[in-house]
Symmetry: C2
């Protein structure tokens, strides 16, 4: 049984409820179309998970049903922030009962039930258990940037299925960027016609996705980033910009100069009409206006803007942006919506109902909260930085300065969002950046604050990752095909041995270390694009090494560590023939050689440890130099087993490695 | 380079054409929407195969293009049997040229180009080559039975993508069965409302699929099987039947009694209206009326029908069915269509334009041809019988009696169809029954008759199987998740070792050997449902054994054979813990024990052979008994490595195994 997120409370009981083809669900209490759809979706998932047919597992009368679902009343027509998502689930050998105030709570409980069902000696079954569950935070989101790389609707749908599975409830749809404007506007059709390369969602598709999300208990919050990040708007509407056009869709990554002209009334007239149209299309109460990363260069260079600033007493570009935000907030509010924006929008003159999304950190979040604003944390949840799950897991919205807030201020911290910025993800590999790590973030936002056992998290994450395969995300299934393409061969065992132990460089080092500048036209077919953000093999090896060093390794552990090191030592020889056949493999030759050398070092260290004596200092010094070299990124990849081998050298020699130069 | 089907002729040249993000396609000569769509689909596939983005690989002016496509004239508005599909493709380091009479030929050539592109040291590239290609037969089909198990539209689409990739051109859609009626009829809505369990295609979905097929150069021929196989029709319209109702959707498999009443005018009135409606919905010229497997019991039991037969001089049920067919043919013809039916429809009183699809064999096909009818072969191409690819590959439509036909009679053999009857396939595993074996059948129907090298076929089939992964079919990707479900664990290495060397029993032995009768409600989640129809591992092991016995095995071969046998011998011990945890594993315990024993026998035989002497006769006798037992199906599975081990025992002992009792 691997539940993720962990429920608020549960009591495991004796026995289990068998789920065979005659298993059925009944609804008593409140019933509506959305609840019925939720049950149908649940049965679909259960059929997929168990391999049963559409003729098995029925919705029946509650009196005959094995699982009885009871909601007290309807959810809101448009899902609201803070709606009751709590539920209680009781499973006994005779049947199960799921109770909730609303269909939304039922949805959450049904996902828990799916996670309980597993293969047993008696059949598929859920263990007897009593669960009382509710979320810690009301806003638990995933942002996907479809501006930099467009993601077709089916990619979003399968990720919404993943979100629902781990009880996330906000899809933040980052819809416009310098590199693309992705929604059909009927009022301003040049936005998509000239700003999207033909890669945009029609309004019908937007409605389809919103309905899909709603069926899964997920709100959809659109973001139209302004006044910066707007080059794609200006291709069709250069009159909105602060500098002379013409503009072209941006192909590079980074922060760019173009920004809307906050001094022209025509800008607000346009935004009033545009926001009005989009406020109709997107039913959610919240409307994200971005507001991040304006470098101000176009404003500095425009004498009219400078004159405007002087005449209006605006002393800085920050003041000018605050003026813009105030105007935009009025428009958003006029169309019935509540404004959300990134840290930069925070200025005390904005009304208190806005929400600030913090990429800067908990202190920034706390500052907003103290001023009476509500806030979301995204710092620490940036999936594109290729952090390990444990790093994300350690980030709590209520920590740092935010740990010292009053209960009332605490209430204003609504939750957080994982963010998938898309410079380096395609429809093929985006799932592998989102999953499974987002499940750890989802647990942080749903489960009680004291849920912090990293080993438990990783054990469950491994289970949930495979379980998510049934629901659509392709984070696991895309790996081997990508390796086959790189190898130019169907035999990828040696390549996999290598890629299993490397990780993409972290943070923004991919840009820093680029040999050729990447653009939106760069194929994402390299080893770095296939390699997972976190190497499970390296984590496992680190566990073995820690056991070895602590003197608590049994024979199996010792043998396994030795077998892995031997596999890695000999891998370069086996991989070599492929390297001359595939252009995509050439760049990894140095790192593959490093792996072989590092593994050889590890084996030597084990030999020294076995003999009981100490490894010679000269040998250790030499290995430390080699390990330092091996820990430098190559082909924008990190050799993740090197630090563990370094520990072995330290343990075998009694010397500490010198700090890296 | 792995082309499948092999072109009619080709000349490999020197050098290669690099396919980088700037690669482009231009159209000169005839241009229309269908051709442009074909190029867009080609570019999409190429992007997927290479990992390039939607901004790479453009449709440009022919003058700048790397691949220039030239069609002489349009294809027919509705794709016709026998339309020109020939093309010529020239690839040089500087560029490529694809010429065809029609967009249909261009589609075939584009698929060939995709198969040429592979990963090289210089980048993705197609080798320089000149190809002149055309199909041997004009009708190359795949039939999918969506009556017994419904297949959602996306399952059909991904299989149409697979079909297009291997140049099949007819999707035969078997739409009605005792177990389900699968198309929305607006004239007779009770057909789908009462006969489908809600699992049917709307007319919009039918049109969507036909358009999808047309974009890929595939005709869609609907089949409505009659007068038998019609129980699902009678649930809503019992008055069509020959026996009193009421009727229920059939849940079992087999041949059933219900049949339409051929003696009632209301039957033909219904069929006239129904065929009229469907003739509008399905634009293809051909309309399949099934006509197979009428057991006649309802006719025998109905005194009115008996009286009718006497008064009309119909001496047998065959005569009655012929009468029915003649009436139906008139209706089909009235609505502008040409009738197709299974062997049973063949009676000399039908007009010569009908097409007979033979499940009985080439002799039956030849008989039809001699009578002036056109025919299709499906005997030998039944995918549900779990034959190996080589068996299908050996079946030629023009062989047996059909080898002695006149050229004119030969012309009437239009081709053939692979048939996927769906008693034992679900959306999850149907692709693994269709692919890759259907590619071998596709080659039989497209390539010159003398293309018969089985080793070459298997080598290319392995490549094409993985290449098909880019296009959608899930025959490879569905395997591991099914094994994980069976194991109830993410660690499936030992289970995979076992399932890799078993095959489902062949022909109709699954029914024969069933412990519990299977129905349409039976989950298809057992080992037999995950196991592939053909074990690649067993084929490889057989090659190793043949080399060993022939004395042409090198050290690597010997080592590999020994390593495999050792793996298998020790597998049962490793698999054992799982067997107590999963109900789906219990049934394979005896066969898993067999595998271990058989492998131990193989290792002993190798030892005897190594020593140079002869294995003792008593030992051999004992092993033959063990091997005979191990070759008996268990859990409806065959242990595919046992025959090779038997060869080793024979070689080591100099004794022949006794014929199985």
């Amino acid at each position: 049984m691997s539940l993720m997120p962990i429920p608020a409370s549960m009591q495991v009981k004796t026995g289990q409820l068998v789920v065979d083809p005659s298993f059925s669900v009944g609804i008593n209490g409140h019933a509506d179309v959305r609840l019925q759809r939720a049950v149908e979706l649940f049965l679909d998932s259960l059929r997929r998970q168990t391999g049963m047919t559409p003729l098995d597992l029925k919705l029946t009368d509650a009196a005959q049903a094995k699982l009885v679902v009871h909601a007290e009343h309807a959810s809101k027509a448009v899902q609201e922030l803070g709606e009751d998502e709590s539920y209680s689930l009781e499973v006994s050998p005779a049947g199960a009962k799921l109770d909730a105030a609303t269909p939304l709570g039922i949805m959450r409980g049904l996902q828990t039930f799916l996670q309980l069902v597993h293969t047993t000696s008696e059949g598929f079954a859920a263990p007897a258990i009593a669960i009382q569950d509710k979320p810690r935070f009301p806003w638990r989101g995933l942002m996907i940037d479809v501006g930099r790389h467009f993601m077709p609707l089916d990619v979003l749908k399968r990720n919404l299925d993943g979100m629902a599975a781990v009880k996330l409830n906000v899809f933040h749809w980052h819809l416009s960027e310098n590199q693309g404007f992705r929604v059909e506007s009927k009022k301003f059709p040049k936005l998509q016609q000239m700003g999207s390369d033909g890669l945009y969602y029609t309004q019908d598709e937007v409605r389809e996705l919103i309905a899909y999300a709603r069926d899964r208990g997920i709100r959809v919050v659109p973001e139209f980033d302004m006044p910066g990040h707007t080059t794609a708007w200006f291709v069709g509407y250069p009159e909105l910009a602060s500098g002379p056009g013409p503009y072209q869709i941006e192909r590079k990554w980074g922060i760019f100069d173009p920004a809307m002209d906050p001094t022209q009334e025509r800008t607000y007239k346009f935004l009033d009409a545009f926001v009005g149209e989009m406020a109709q299309l997107f039913p959610d109460q919240y409307f994200h206006i971005g507001g991040d990363e304006v470098n101000g260069k176009q404003w500095d260079a425009n004498p009219n803007i400078q004159a405007f600033m002087r005449s209006h007493g605006l002393k800085s570009n920050q003041d000018l942006q605050a003026y813009f935000n105030t105007r935009v907030q009025t428009i958003v509010s006029k169309h019935g919506k509540t404004m959300v924006g990134w840290d930069e929008i925070l200025r005390p003159d904005l009304p208190k109902d806005i929400v600030v999304q913090s990429w800067r950190g908990q202190d920034s979040l706390a500052a907003a909260t103290k001023q009476g604003y509500r806030g979301l944390l995204s710092f620490g949840y940036y999936l594109d930085l290729n952090w390990r799950a444990s790093q994300h897991y350690a980030v709590d919205p209520i920590s740092g300065e935010a740990a010292n807030l009053s209960p009332e201020e605490n209430q204003r911290i609504l939750g957080g969002e994982a963010c998938m910025w898309s410079e380096y993800v395609s429809p093929e590999n985006i799932d592998s950046r989102i999953w499974p790590r987002t499940a750890a973030i989802a647990e942080r936002l749903w489960s009680p604050q004291q849920t912090t056992d990293v080993n438990s998290m990783y054990q469950r994450l491994a289970q949930i990752s495979r379980w998510l395969d049934w629901l659509g995300p392709t984070h696991n299934s895309s790996y081997a095909p990508m390796l086959r393409r790189i190898a130019g061969s169907n035999d990828i065992s040696d390549l996999r041995t290598f890629v299993d132990v490397v990780e993409p460089v972290k943070d923004y080092n991919r840009e820093e270390l680029a040999v050729v500048e990447a653009t939106s036209l760069s194929p994402l077919n390299r080893v770095i694009d296939a390699a997972r953000p976190e190497s499970a093999t390296a984590r496992h090896f680190a566990d073995l090494v820690n056991a070895l060093i602590a003197g608590r390794a049994d024979t199996d552990t010792k043998q396994e560590a030795r077998a892995l090191l031997t596999l890695w030592r000999d891998n370069q020889t086996r991989l070599k023939p492929l390297e001359t056949e595939s252009f995509l493999l050439k760049e990894i030759v140095p790192l593959s050689q490093d792996l072989s050398q590092v593994a050889a070092t590890g084996l030597q260290a084990l030999d020294y440890m076995n003999r009981g004596g100490r490894a010679p200092e000269a040998w250790a010094t030499q290995q430390f130099a080699l390990l330092e070299e091996a820990q430098k990124p190559k082909a924008q990849l990190l050799l993740t087993v090197a630090p563990s081998v370094q520990k072995l050298v330290e343990a075998s020699s009694g010397k500490k490695a010198p700090p890296p130069k």
